[in-house]
């Protein structure tokens, strides 16, 4: 589990590309490439209930589609990631935010 989680942390660290303008598809591809390099598979490949392995969007998550570009003005990215390594899972998540955020819900 220690190795699995270290890999998760490395991949999440690589997700510093979560920033205005980037497409969620690019983040998926980046994560998949990092998995390939480390010869691990994200749970999305093994668990049908989790078809995607990055949750990114504005306003606390918003899926739209994989080509959605994160907004320039303000946004939030929440990569949550897990991998399976030698039978054990690692799992972690972080949240990035940029731009000016209102103190109350709503646009």
């Amino acid at each position: 589990m220690e190795v699995a989680n270290r890999i998760v942390a490395e991949i999440l660290g690589g997700e510093r590309k979560v920033q205005p303008g980037i497409e969620t598809r690019e983040l998926d591809e980046l994560a998949e490439e990092m998995c390939r390099q480390r010869r691990v598979k994200p749970p999305s490949k093994a668990i049908a209930a989790i078809p995607g392995h990055l949750r990114v969007g504005e306003r606390g998550g918003g899926p739209r589609d994989s080509r959605t570009a994160l907004p320039q003005s303000r946004g939030r990215g929440e990569p949550g990631f897990g991998v399976k390594y030698e039978g054990y899972y690692g799992d972690a998540a972080i949240t990035w935010a940029w731009g000016k955020w209102a103190k109350k819900p709503g646009p």
């Binding site: 270290r6 999440l12 606390g60 690692g90 935010a97 109350k104």
Partner: protein
């Protein structure tokens, strides 16, 4: 530019305008309760205390869990609840602690992709998670570089 997450114990020391700071702080407050002999809900209560103390609400339906041979194992670890309830933590246990908070509704719904979670009212939300192990020497954060 995205703001990178803190790696330090106890959070970033930087207050952000949304619930991010409180969520991250609550994660580390929960992790601090991972001790042999303490009850599982001590984690939940610590998370809730920090989040609500900052004026936010915890997710009512998405929460932490055991982790190991499966991604999601028992026990479940809600992000709220009274202290001193549930199983007693023992050395060798591994958990994923993952507070989720929002500035509005604590109710969430899962979108059609089966993965993306959003708040019911579209309010700003945050999520931080670490996998941890309870060792003879105390809690070890496995998912931190």
């Amino acid at each position: 530019m995205g703001m990178p997450p803190s790696r330090g114990r106890g959070g970033s020391g930087r207050k952000s305008p949304g619930p991010d700071y409180a969520t991250e702080e609550s994660l580390y407050a929960g992790i601090a309760k991972v001790k042999a002999g303490q009850r599982l809900s001590d984690i939940s209560h610590a998370v809730q205390t920090v989040v609500e103390g900052a004026g936010f609400g915890s997710s009512g339906s998405l929460w932490g869990h055991g982790i190991g041979r499966s991604l999601h194992e028992d026990p479940q670890i809600p992000n709220f609840g009274p202290p001193d309830r549930g199983p007693t933590m023992q050395v060798g246990m591994t958990f994923a602690i993952e507070p989720m908070t929002s500035m509005g509704s604590w109710q969430v719904r899962i979108l059609q992709d089966g993965w993306t979670a959003i708040t019911q009212d579209g309010s700003c939300a945050a999520h931080f998670e670490h996998s941890v192990a309870l060792t003879e020497n105390g809690v070890l954060i496995l998912s931190r570089l």
